[in-house]
Symmetry: C2
Subunit: 289 residues, 2 copies
């Protein structure tokens, strides 16, 4: 079962932290910069090398990684080749790979996106957008519980509520309720299913608690830890009462220094920033022990 | 201006028809079937050859094509290479290319998706999902009016209303109103802007008319003509009072025979099915003359 693999991996490494892999060419360490940034295959290879270097540093310290498809797609076919390589390396290191692709379509097109994410790319789980309705999610649920998905419920960007609504009424609430039903036939011993939810970590405290309550059987993937401003303590209210069921995501605050680029010793920088996040989460999670 | 190029191209070929390019390996004509369907590069090349063959047949008869990204993504990097080739051929033939990708993200990730669609892939326009709010659409609007976008407003799959709502209230209506404002600074002589809307052609007549009224300055891309059951007459109510502003999309009813596969003479089959759709639209459009 995918969701059991997620729980086991998190237990093994001792942190629920997920690190986002968002390779941005201009921010890669100096030694990895390609001589011609306009050369797409070279740029894609540099991004792949950076992500693989990050994965080496993170092995044993992080159980879940989230490559962002867009940052590979900018390089066209070479970018997808790089993405496939990075996913394969992460899986070889025992990590659970959540492909952040936010796909959403219907019928055989949605099936094709599931095939692309799980089979061509090799991801364990994929993020999906619910706009087209429940049947747009069904082809991903059909791959459960050996694979998983995270449905965009409530993001925390300023304009998100315009079309999503809030936890009391509106489409995001309907999506949360749909997730609850979809999980029912797949629940594991912890009472969690393979259909997760994306809920922004930088939402207000009351709203975070409201979403956790509306999503009792779902893993919550919570972007916004680190560079986007959510603190480890903010993540606590997205966890279940035992501290489980939430996956805080930090991306740029691990990959890059606060300003400029890392130099030749860049893997040390990644390691330091990673260990700081691990420590922050461990301290915040003491409330559960 | 992208939207003027769209109008001119449609005028030149004499039909608003857009043909979807949805290559599905098992349905390709016999002579194009690869010897090993599991060989991804060979499968992707077969799909590219099929689409290029369709484009040859359609040159001068169709002004707009809509490749579906998912059907190329299933083949990984080779699929994206095939997609890039197909887009380049369509543009060389003077067609406007709408990449059907339904992307949706925020900030630099949304910018990366715009770069991927417009620069890496070379599309003139791309379909986008509004779930993450107005700012998720802004990076695509920033590329207007040299490029365009079509925002998913109201699709016509059975469960679409669950999260989208209808024309009277709900998020789809808010998206339609947002499109109206976004177009204002880009309007051409026809009063149309580069920010289009996707509205399903198989919605009921009243709802089609309601969406047309709520989207006075937007091109409507209307999937569902042909195989999905919408008739040419149904498309009339999505047009503006002069018959413009709507792009009916047919995909499988052009690419494939009603059952089975085409044989060696497959381009003739594509041509016949195409000409039937052109004729159906011409007859329905007589109401405007």
């Amino acid at each position: 079962m995918y969701q059991q693999r997620m729980a086991d991996t998190i237990r093994q490494v001792g942190t629920p932290l997920c690190v986002g892999l968002d390779p941005v060419l201009s921010r890669l360490p100096g030694p990895l910069q390609p001589s011609d940034p306009g050369d797409r295959p070279a740029a894609a290879a540099a991004c792949a090398a950076f992500c693989q270097g990050m994965l080496e540093v993170m092995a044993g310290e992080v159980g879940v990684v989230k490559p962002q498809s867009a940052f590979f797609e900018v390089f066209g076919a070479s970018g997808i080749e790089a993405l496939e390589e990075v996913v394969a390396v992460a899986r070889r290191l025992g990590m659970v790979v959540v492909l952040d692709a936010k796909r959403g379509d219907i019928g055989s097109t949605a099936e094709a996106y599931a095939t692309a994410a799980f089979d061509a790319c090799g991801a364990d789980a994929v993020t999906v957008s619910p706009w087209l309705g429940p049947e747009s999610l069904a082809p991903f649920v059909a791959r459960c519980p050996s694979r998983g998905l995270f449905v965009l419920v409530r993001t925390s960007n300023p304009g998100a509520a315009a079309f999503q609504g809030g936890p009391e009424a509106g489409p995001a609430r309907a999506v949360a309720d749909w997730i609850g039903s979809a999980n029912e036939r797949f629940l594991d011993a912890d009472g969690l299913g393979p259909v997760g939810a994306v809920v922004g970590a930088t939402l207000g405290a009351d709203e975070r608690a409201a979403w956790r309550a509306r999503l009792p059987n779902a893993w919550i993937l919570a972007p916004g830890f680190g560079a986007q401003g959510a603190l480890a303590g903010d993540l606590v209210s997205l966890a279940r009462s035992d501290g489980g069921g939430v996956i805080p995501v930090a991306a740029r605050s691990v990959a890059y220094p606060p300003s400029g680029r890392d130099d030749a010793d860049w893997q040390r920088g990644v390691h330091q920033r990673l260990m700081r996040h691990r420590r922050q989460l461990r301290e915040a999670w003491q409330t559960f022990s």
